[in-house]
């Protein structure tokens, strides 16, 4: 493999890896405050893309994206309030069924609203064939957008959780829900907030990736599987490890085309997921000990 090709694959891997990491962090935020695995996480990404594409007809790109993120956050909040909030200590199985139900609901609504057509946002800068060169490697500016947006979101989230009072309260909720209640924190609102936050970052990721990956009513499902794989791979609840795991999966997928046919690319994530669940359910970076000391 030539060095150029190597870097070409590497960047493709990084791009997808960053997206998977964001989806995984979305899983983690909700998992940490509620213990719920929200299988509708992929649909937030799809909604972000779809809503911004529709809004593009009326307002400029930047505003369309901002509005799409806000609308998706609103949808996240409504979902939590309608389906999750009123449940009194539900079982894990019940939660899984509910969130899968929500994901089907969102997907079917999207099908109803937008149909089956494949859409995409325009490239934020230039077009499909614009590239800039790093040595002899050609990189699409959109790739830079995706990686930069994901990096900024991760940094922003980390700052939010570490240094703001609300971030601290959400972490408290994750660490010990009863104790957070005893501090007078309204833990139910924190759960709503975690849904909004997950929806927001998912939607933003859905916008920046749309020019490269395109958006369709059902594009959330496969992303959710990838994101879930990454979240498990990193150890559920551990977002720093999710970034590493996301990049790892992205790169494995990108380089896999050199050994297996493209059609198998999606099977890799599933294979890894099953392998991890069998061999090391706490994730490659996790131990059961670390899982208990989970943070952001």
């Amino acid at each position: 493999m030539s060095l150029d090709l190597f870097f070409q694959y590497l960047f493709a891997g990084l791009t997808y890896g960053a997206i998977y990491a964001i989806v995984a962090i979305g899983f983690n935020i909700i998992y940490n405050t509620t213990g719920i695995i929200n299988f509708a996480q992929g649909e937030f990404v799809m909604l972000g893309g779809m809503i911004s594409i529709s809004l593009m007809e009326f307002i400029p790109l930047g505003y369309a994206i901002a509005a799409a993120v806000l609308v998706t956050m609103g949808i996240g909040a409504v979902i939590e309030i309608l389906f999750i909030r009123w449940l009194e200590s539900p079982s894990v199985l019940r939660m899984i069924i509910i969130t899968i139900g929500i994901s089907i609901l969102l997907r079917e609504s999207a099908l109803h609203i937008w149909g089956e057509s494949i859409r995409s946002l325009p490239y934020f800068y230039g077009n499909e064939i614009t590239t800039f060169n790093l040595g002899s490697v050609h990189i699409s500016p959109q790739v830079v957008w995706v990686i930069a947006a994901c990096a900024v979101m991760m940094a922003g989230l980390s700052l939010f959780f570490k240094s703001t009072p609300i971030g601290r309260e959400m972490r408290a909720c994750a660490a010990n829900r009863t104790a957070a209640l005893l501090c007078g924190i309204n833990t139910r609102n924190m759960v709503t907030l975690s849904f909004m936050l997950s929806a927001g970052i998912g939607a933003l990721a859905g916008c920046v990736m749309s020019p490269i990956t395109y958006t369709q009513y059902d594009s959330g499902a496969s992303l959710a599987i990838k994101g879930f794989t990454v979240a498990i791979l990193g150890g559920l609840g551990n977002s720093l490890a999710a970034v590493a795991a996301g990049v790892l999966l992205g790169i494995i997928e990108a380089f896999s085309v050199t050994v297996v046919p493209l059609a198998f690319q999606d099977a890799i994530a599933i294979a890894i997921l099953l392998l991890i669940l069998f061999v090391k359910p706490h994730g490659i970076f996790g131990s059961s000990e670390a899982a208990r000391l989970k943070d952001f």
Binding site: E169, R171, A175, N176, L182, C183, L293, K294
Partner: protein
């Protein structure tokens, strides 16, 4: 301050508290002693709103709290130092204390929270030394102090403590009880739940003895300490002849 009348409470259909009546007056330390499974924790959880009464009523500052949300009850000035400390393990000591100041911050602003933080550091100097350490890595005694400091950060009118001495060495237990005494000196009101009857009744004004969900004895702490039944059951002192 706190008045409980004919209270029944439990889990699902299981009724574990039966016809409990008790009260705590401002400025008192009231001790409630009882063996494992006497339903001490259940009682405190009912007062703070984690469990709902099945019958009877709990009044805090004259307000019935039967259907008030936990965070509201906490905001009205009732704090619980839970059994087993329940510190926020992956967070630093200072973050734990600041979270305890959540209500204070909301009502009186950040300056008051920092003032209160300083007061907790004076009360528990060890916490100042360990301020950046993760709470989960503190020793048992330090965690107990942190849990107390966190509860006090809200400037509660009533502090309820669930077995603060469990699993601690006698020397640390003495420290903890001295601090509870000091709290009363500063005008706090304390409902102290303990299995360590001697230490608890030693500092309390009044006491209750709880046995399998029922109050079987009550009175001034000194009287309870001298009571033969209490001595036999909780102080391990069998009077020979």
């Amino acid at each position: 301050m706190l008045k409980i009348r004919n209270l029944d409470a439990g889990y699902g259909k299981l009724r574990v508290l039966k016809n409990i009546s008790l009260h705590v007056k401002p400025g008192e330390i009231v001790a409630m002693i009882g063996a494992n499974g006497a339903s001490k924790t259940t009682l405190l959880h009912t007062v703070i709103g984690l469990i709902r009464p099945m019958r009877g009523e709990v009044r805090f500052l004259g307000q019935a709290t039967g259907s008030t949300a936990v965070e509201r009850i906490v905001a009205s000035g009732c704090a619980l130092v839970p059994e087993g400390r329940q510190v926020f393990a992956p967070m630093s000591v200072e973050e734990n204390l600041l979270l305890g100041g959540f209500i204070l911050q909301k009502e009186q602003g950040r300056a008051e929270v920092l003032k209160e933080l300083e007061r907790q550091y004076e009360l528990f100097p060890i916490l100042r030394e360990r301020r950046q350490q993760l709470a989960g890595t503190l020793s048992g005694g330090e965690q107990q102090m942190l849990a107390m400091g966190r509860a006090l950060m809200s400037r509660p009118k009533l502090v309820m403590m669930d077995e603060p001495s469990t699993g601690l060495a006698p020397l640390i237990v003495r420290d903890i009880f001295q601090i509870i005494c000091r709290l009363r000196g500063q005008g706090n009101t304390v409902l102290l739940i303990e299995q360590n009857a001697k230490a608890a009744l030693g500092i309390a004004d009044r006491g209750y003895v709880l046995e399998v969900g029922k109050v079987i004895l009550q009175g001034p702490a000194a009287d309870l300490l001298a009571n033969a039944d209490v001595q036999r059951a909780y102080l391990g002192r069998e009077k020979i002849a």
